[in-house]
Structures are given as C-alpha cells and as structure tokens.
C-alpha cells in the first residue's frame, strides 16, 4: 500500500506517529505526550487510544516491541510500541500534505507568524 493511501490521517493516528517518531513509548506515555503537545485539547481515553493502536498495528504503521527500558522501573503489563519504516513514510506523506495545505492557506489568507 502506498503511503498516500492512508492520508489524510486521523488526528489521533498522526499524533501517535509523532510521539513514536521520537522513540519507543508505552501507551500511557503516548497519551500524556499528546495531551501536553495539544495543550489538553486532544485527550485520548484508554479505549480510543488502544483502539487506534490496535488498528495501527494491523495497518503496519507501528509495532509492538519486546524491549523494556528498565524492568525495575516498569510494570510488566505495559506494552511498548515503535514506529515502522512504513509508518515513517506515511507520517512524512501526511506532513507533506499538511505543508501544502498551509502554503495554500498562506497564499489565500496570509498566515501570520503568531496568530
């Protein structure tokens, strides 16, 4: 499947990819990071979060990893995920799509640096 087949991505998918792009995370960390990044505007509940993760694993965007950063610090039940190569391509395609949109918006309305 070509990366552009999946775009536009849902905001939840894109944010999850963004988080995992920076490194392996477990679910709860992804959630907190997204909440912080969006200033609390996008709060993923656990059901929606793992539903999205499930779907993304199925699509091959992300995968589960066996690696545990520090077994002493962490609970066995946490699951860690990392982005796949395909996931990176899709995220990149989505970023490009957004950039084009932003450029179009700027040409049409003019976008100020600090809105």
């Amino acid at each position: 499947m070509s990366p552009t087949d999946l775009t536009p991505l849902s905001p939840a998918f894109f944010h999850i990819l963004l988080s995992l792009g920076a490194g392996e995370r477990h679910g709860y960390a992804i959630k907190r990071e997204i909440a912080a990044r969006t200033e609390g505007k996008l709060k993923l509940g656990p059901g929606v979060l793992y539903g999205s993760i499930n779907k993304m694993v199925e699509l091959g965007l992300i995968e589960e990893t066996d690696a545990r950063p520090d077994p002493h610090l962490d609970d066995q039940r946490r699951r860690y995920y990392r982005i796949t190569t395909y996931g990176r391509k899709v995220a990149r395609a989505e970023g490009a799509r957004m950039r084009d949109l932003v450029q179009l918006a700027a040409a049409t309305f003019g976008v100020r640096r600090h809105a």
């Binding site: 709860y28 709060k43 929606v48």
Partner: protein
C-alpha cells in the same frame, strides 16, 4: 491487589465488556494506565473528572471494538457456511421450524386467550350461563332491583342477541344485534367513541327506540360521518335513533354490530345472556359460593346442574382453548427438539473443526475469543432462522385464520403483534444461547486439553443419544396420530349424509320486518322466487327450507307418533317447500316428494324419514297413515325418505326421527333457497342470487354459498386439527432426521482415528458404515418402543379433538416405525459418506 480500591474493581469489571481479542491484548495496559491516573487524581473532584472521561471513552470505544470483532466473526461464519451448505441448511431449517411454528401458534393462542378484551379490567368480568340461570327479569325494575342489592356483583347486565334486517340505509342487509339492559356498556367499562351509552331507564318500553352502532358499521354505512348521531335506522322495520358509536374492535356479544336497549316485556326474552362484574375485594370462589346460595334460594330445586359463574374470558375463548394450549405445548416441545438438534449439529461441527480451532488457539486466540466466534455463529444462525421462521409463522397463521372461531370474529391473528414478535425474538435468542453455550464450552475443552479425542465422554454421548431417541419417540407418536386423524377426516368428509353435496346452490333470505311479512304475503313471495329460479336454463330443481342440514343447532320439534301410538323418540320437524327432497338429492324409499299443490293448498301431508318408518314396520307400512301428536292427527304420510344429517356429528342424527312437511307461511326467521343446478355450482351462485333479489329488492338476500362451501366451513375445525397434526408430524420427522444426521456425523468425526486403524487392518469402508448404521438404528429402536406405547395412549386425546378419530392400531404403528427406520438409515448413510473418502495415511500421519 487484594485491597484494590473500589474504582479499580469497577474499571476492571467494565473492561469485560470489550470483545475477547481486544481485551486479551489491551486490558492489562489499560488497567495499568488507570492505576497511574488514579494515583494522580486526588480528591473527589479529580476522581469525578477522571471517571467522566473514562465513561465517555468506554461508551465510544466499546461499540467500535465490538462491531469490529463481530464483523470479522460474521465474515468467518459466512465462509464456513459456504463450505458446508447442507449442514447449514439443516441447522437453519431445524430452528426455523421451532421458531416459526412457535410464533404461528403463539399468534393464535394470543388472539384467543391472551390479547386483552376491549373492556375495563376484563379479569373481573363474569359470565352466567343462560341455559342454567337467568336473573329475575320480569320487568326492568325487578332486574335492576335485584342487581343493585347484590352483595357480590358490583354490576350485572343482560344481553340477548339475534340477527335482524337492517333498513333505512342504502342497501338492506342482515346484521347481528344485541339488546341489552341499559347498564351494558357501563358494566363492561366501555365508552362509545362518539355519542353516549344508554342512560338509566332507557330499557323501558317507550324509551328504548335508540341504538348504538358498531365502529365498522359506522364506517361502512355512514362513512364515518359524525352526523350519524340522531340518524334513523330501521331494525326489522322499526325506526331507531342512533345515539352512539362503539369503539373499534368492540363486538361483544357474539360479533354484534348494533346494540339497543332491551324491553323487559317477557316476550321472547329466552335467550338472555348475563355478564357481571365482581365487587371489589370479592374473589372468584367467594362469588361462586354466593351465587350458588342465591340461585338455590330464589329458585329452589330448579336446577339439575349447578349454575356456573365463569370468567368471561374463558367463555369467549371457548372450546378452542384446550386445543390451542395442547398445540402450544406441542410446539414448545418442537422448539426444544429443534434446539437439541442444532446443538448436536454444532457439536459435530465444532469437533470437526477441532484442528482449525487448535491452530487458531496456538496462534494466540484466547479461549474467550474462540467462544465468542462460536457464539456469533449461533446468533447469526438464529437470526437467519428467525426470519425464515417468521415466514413459516405467516403460513401457520394463514391456516389458523380459516378456522377463526366466530366469537372473536373482529379480532384477527395479526402476525405483526408486538408481543408475537417479541416471543419469536426471545425464542430465537434463548435457543441460540442454549445451543451456543454447549459447543462453546466444548471449544473451551479443546483448548484446555489440546487433543482431538478427549472431548467425548460416555455421559455426554448418552445424553445426546437419549435426546435423539426421545425425538424418534415423539415423531412416532405424531406420525401415527396424523395417520389416525387423517383417516378420521377422510371418513368424516366421505360420510353419506342423506343428501347430495355437489351441484347445490344455497341462498338465505329473511322476510323479518319487510312489507312481505307485514302484509302476510310470505308464501306468494317464495312461490314467485321459486318460479323465477326454476325458469333459469341450468336449474334442475329448486326449493326452500327453514332449516338447512348441518345448520340445525340443537333439537327442533317435539313428540310425534303414528295413529296415536307414540314413537320412542321425539321427531325433528322441518318445514319445506315443494321438491325439497328431490333438490337435496334425498333418496325416496317410498311414496312421493311434496308438491306445489301440497304447499299451495295447505294440505296436511308429510314425508317421514326411514328411522321413523322402521319404528312402525317399515316404509310400506306407514304410507297413507297419520303422524299424530297425542291423539291429534297432524299429517298424512305421503312419502318416506332416507334421513338427512341435520347436525355436524353424523352419529347424533343417525337415530333421529324426521318429519318434512309443507311450509305454508315460510320466512319466519330466515329461510334458505336450495337450487340444484347443471354444471359447477360456483358458477351459478351469482345468477341465482340476483334472480331471487329481483323479486323484491327490499328483502335482504345473503349467504349465497354452494353446499360444498358450507360443508367446508362446518368442518373447518377438524380440518385445521388435521393440518396441524400433519404439519407437526412432518416437522418432527424432519427434526428427527436432522437429529440422527447430527449425532452420526459427530460420531464419525469423533472416531476417525479408530476407523483409520480399522481400515489399515483391512476393514472396508462399507463395513464401517454398516457398524455405524447398526448403532444408529439401535438409538432409533430405543425411541421406537416408548413411541409405539405413547401412540397407543394418545388415542383418547385425539378422540377429543376430532370426532371419529380412533386410537392407533398396531399396523399403523409398525408401519410408521418402519418408515422412520428407513428414513433414519438414509440419513445415517448420508452422514457416513465421508468415511468412504477417508485416506488412511492422512489419518495415521496426524498422530
């Protein structure tokens, strides 16, 4: 973990609502996440906010995940169905029969018994049987005084119903009328939808020229016009002012469409029915006791039978009640059989799929996930079966409508009744759970033990074989019953009734209230009508009678003798016009039929039946002698005819004396023209009816039917039972076949390994199939023995359903056992088909 806070416990419990796969993968991390959140949320506000977010999250994501996994399961199921279509068709058929027959019969029972009557609090309404007791009714005052002082009835109303001629509207017609005491509507607690009910003292002469019309009549004759109030209709010629319209569906008593206040003048008030409402706080036994005591006090020694107080509802359902309840029991049994069968089929399927399930389980599918898959299959199966079952139910009710008992004529067996649909849905869900759970548990066991041949225990096999044997038993009972009932029905229809049914047209007229009656010109009217009908080219002969065979209700007549010698039994007297016996196709044993001259001249002559003649020495002996009442001569006997069946039960009229005499003033209640025609009677109906109508358009002409149709109507109920029993037998047979097929194919799968070894040792597939056949037939034999015994015992019940049904004989039972054994063998052979295709090496290599 032990002292987990309540919040955590609740969340864990809520997580169980996620589907199996999702739960297996993510319940752990989600719970961990919840702990983290919980640790950070201090204080009641934070906790409330956390739960608010979580509940919203659960509400959104649970349905999404459920539908995702369900659609996967459904796709998987459809692939499986396509891979073994026969298996699927069998399972759906078995369930559809169970659900469909159930819904159909429930619709009928619902219409007859359960559906609420259009009365307020119908459970408190009682009927007093008028044949046994009539409250004091010498005058309106006497009756109302009696009812007002009653200690156990809060209200009592009298009704009397009969057919009347309806005039003062566009087309004259016949209508069913009830005359009632003024408090009839208030006793039932029914309010007219338009206008008012009767008022106190309107049931006294001079004030009672008013009427309430039924909703249907209002729509039909007045097109729902509100100006109906104050309009005048003529009932048997008398003008009545309409004061109200009854609510839709209200047709009590006996399908009445017009109600008028009775007048208590003592004349003709013999057919009173009584409806009463129990006083608050009075129980049925108390009311009965008080009623007996009062009846004994008012009329000591009058009753040979104790008068009864029965719930009105029972009376309305009538004799159909027992039959319907028995059918209901039968149908529940059929549903149970269907469920066991589908369970058997699914067990066989599950065992067959053991390899697939083991592989899936090894690939990480949890036991819950596999159970969920199997449950989805079951639900889908029930869903498809429920739809097929509704179609079947529709047919069942279509049959039932044909025997709609008259007291409930206004109520239809609507299949779209919410309760009926609810019942079907419940039946299908319950049955799917019933057979969904067993195979799922079994699937669990596969997973637990992980081997292919550990599932079958001796006990579970015994249970299944017993169930199949029970089905064989039931099938034999139903099968022999259907043969017996079918035979009785053929006999009933083939009975010689003393008249010829074919080519006979019948048309009813009523002169009540017409100018013909008021001017005493009844006979000229009939003579003119007969003359016109007889001139029609296709008419062979025509006549008229006051009573038509099969329509007599009870005994009409009195004591009669010959030349002053009394007969042993009273005689039924039938007033007829000329050529009646010839037209009916009666067989003259001597003498002649009645002629126009006999009728016109008022001659006192009669034709007697064979039974009467035999009592006095035979046909030749009685000709020319006098029929007498006491010592008074009534009629000179001019002919002897073979008797005609005037009642539906042939044995009731076989030993009855009958006297046919010329009717000099016909048309009193209503009369029936009988016309024997050339060609098909159906094709002549309209012309005969129109010819009679042309004589006087004011006279209501109705009930134009062939005699064959009337016979069909009369025997609709036995016909219904015959059809029902036949259908049940067919259903049972089909279910038994499915059951046997299921259990044998299960055994085949179960013993594949053993058979592989046997084949390796030189046994042929045919011999192996023979062994299975013998074992299967052993189960059949185990069911056949109690089946034959049950068939013999069921005779008494059959006799109560259909007159003439005899207990089952040994030959019939033997034949049905052989038949079932044959069908069973065929299905066993089909189920063992796959043995022939077994590859020894494949089987042995799996070890």
């Amino acid at each position: 973990m032990r002292d987990a806070p309540f919040s955590l416990k609740l969340y864990r419990w809520l997580l169980r609502f996620y589907p199996a796969d999702f739960r297996a993968n993510y319940a752990g991390p989600m719970e961990q996440e919840f702990r983290d959140e919980l640790a950070q949320s201090t204080g009641p506000w934070a906790l409330t906010a956390l739960w608010g977010q979580l509940l919203a999250d659960l509400a959104i994501s649970i349905p999404v995940q459920l539908s995702r996994e369900a659609s996967q399961d459904v796709r998987h199921t459809l692939r499986l169905w396509a891979s073994r279509p026969w298996h699927t068709v069998f399972a759906i058929a078995a369930l559809a029969i169970g659900i469909g027959a159930n819904t159909g019969v429930f619709s009928v029972v619902n219409a007859l018994l359960l559906r609420s009557l259009p009365f307020r609090d119908p459970g408190r309404l009682a009927a007093l049987n008028h044949a046994e007791y009539i409250p004091p009714h010498g005058s309106a005052k006497q009756f109302h005084d009696w009812r007002q002082q009653s200690t156990y009835f809060s209200d009592v109303a009298l009704t009397e119903e009969f057919d009347v001629n309806l005039g003062g509207v566009r087309d004259p017609a016949r209508a069913h009328l009830a005359q009632t005491s003024w408090n009839f509507f208030s006793t039932l607690g029914t309010q007219p939808v338009l206008g008012r009910a009767f008022m106190p003292e309107e049931d006294t002469p001079g004030r009672n020229a008013i009427a309430i019309v039924g909703y249907g009549l209002w729509q039909q004759l007045f097109a729902g016009d509100r100006r109906v109030l104050g309009a005048t209709i003529r009932i048997d010629g008398d003008p009545l002012t309409i004061v109200g319209v009854a609510p839709p569906g209200f047709d009590y008593p006996g399908g009445a469409v017009i109600w008028k206040p009775a007048k208590f003048d003592g004349e003709g008030n013999n057919g009173w029915d009584t409806v009463a409402r129990l006083k608050p706080g009075i129980t049925w036994p108390q009311a009965r006791e008080a009623f007996y005591a009062e009846a004994d006090r008012l009329f000591p020694n009058r009753y040979t039978k104790r008068p009864r107080v029965t719930p009105l509802r029972d009376g309305l359902a009538g004799p159909a009640r027992n039959g319907s309840l028995m059918l209901m029991a039968g149908v529940l049994l059929v549903l149970l059989m269907a469920c066991t069968n589908v369970a058997n089929l699914l067990m066989a399927r599950t065992a067959d799929r053991a390899a697939e399930l083991s592989v899936r389980s090894a690939l990480g599918a949890s036991r819950a996930r596999l159970a969920q898959q199997l449950l989805t299959e079951c639900l889908l199966l029930s869903f498809v079966a429920a739809i097929a079952g509704l179609v079947l139910a529709y047919w069942t009710t279509a049959i039932a409508v044909k025997v709609q008992p008259p007291p409930l004529a206004a109520q239809s067996y609507s299949i779209l009744d919410g309760r009926v649909l609810g019942f079907a849905a419940l039946a299908s869900i319950l049955s799917s759970l019933l057979f969904g759970v067993l195979p799922s548990l079994y699937a669990g066991r596969i997973h637990t033990f992980g081997t292919r041949d550990s599932g079958q225990t001796r006990g579970s096999r015994l249970v299944r074989e017993t169930l199949v044997a029970a089905q064989v038993m039931l099938t034999i009972i139903l099968f022999t019953a259907s043969v017996s009932v079918g035979r009785a029905f053929v006999k009933l229809m083939g009975t010689d009734r003393g008249f010829d049914v074919q080519g006979l047209v019948t048309v009813n007229v009523s002169l009540g209230g017409t100018t013909q009656q008021l001017t005493h010109r009844e006979l000229p009217y009939f003579e003119e009508a007969l003359a016109r009908v007889r001139r029609l080219p296709f008419v062979r002969s025509a006549s008229a009678t006051e009573f038509l065979p099969l329509y007599a209700t009870g005994f009409l007549g009195g004591p009669a003798g010959l030349d002053g010698r009394p007969a042993k039994r009273g005689a039924m007297v039938v007033p007829v016009l000329s050529e009646y016996l010839q037209t009916m196709g009666g067989r003259m044993l001597g003498g002649r039929d009645l002629t126009d001259a006999d009728v016109h001249s008022g001659a006192r002559v009669a034709v007697v039946n064979e039974h009467f003649a035999r009592e006095f020495g035979g046909p030749a002996e009685v000709l020319g002698r006098q029929v007498t009442q006491g010592n008074t001569p009534l009629y000179k006997i001019v002919g002897v005819v073979q008797g005609m069946d005037y009642e539906t039960d042939p044995s009731a009229t076989a030993d009855r004396n009958q006297i046919f005499f010329p009717s000099h003033a016909p048309g009193g209640f209503f009369s029936t023209f009988v016309v024997r025609v050339n060609g098909r009677a159906e094709d002549r109906l309209a012309i005969v009816r129109d010819t009679i109508r042309s004589v006087d358009p004011q006279v209501p002409v109705f009930g134009a039917k062939t005699m064959a149709e009337r016979l069909d109507d009369t025997f609709a109920r036995p016909k219904f039972y015959r059809t029902a029993v036949l259908l049940f037998a067919a259903f049972a047979l089909l279910l038994a076949v499915i059951g046997i097929y299921g259990i044998v194919s299960y055994a085949v799968v179960q013993r594949t390994h053993e058979m592989g070894i046997r084949m390796a040792l030189g046994t042929t597939p045919v011999r192996l199939r023979g062994i299975l056949l013998r074992q299967g037939l052993l189960t059949v034999a185990a069911g056949a023995i109690p089946g034959v015994a049950g068939a013999m015992l069921s005779g008494r019940f059959l006799e109560s359903l259909i007159t003439g049904a005899k207990s089952v004989d040994l030959a019939t039972s033997t034949l049905s056992v052989l038949f079932i054994a044959l069908v069973a063998s065929a299905s066993i052979w089909a189920a063992t088909r796959r043995i022939a295709g077994l590859d020894i090496m494949t089987i042995l290599r799996t070890e």
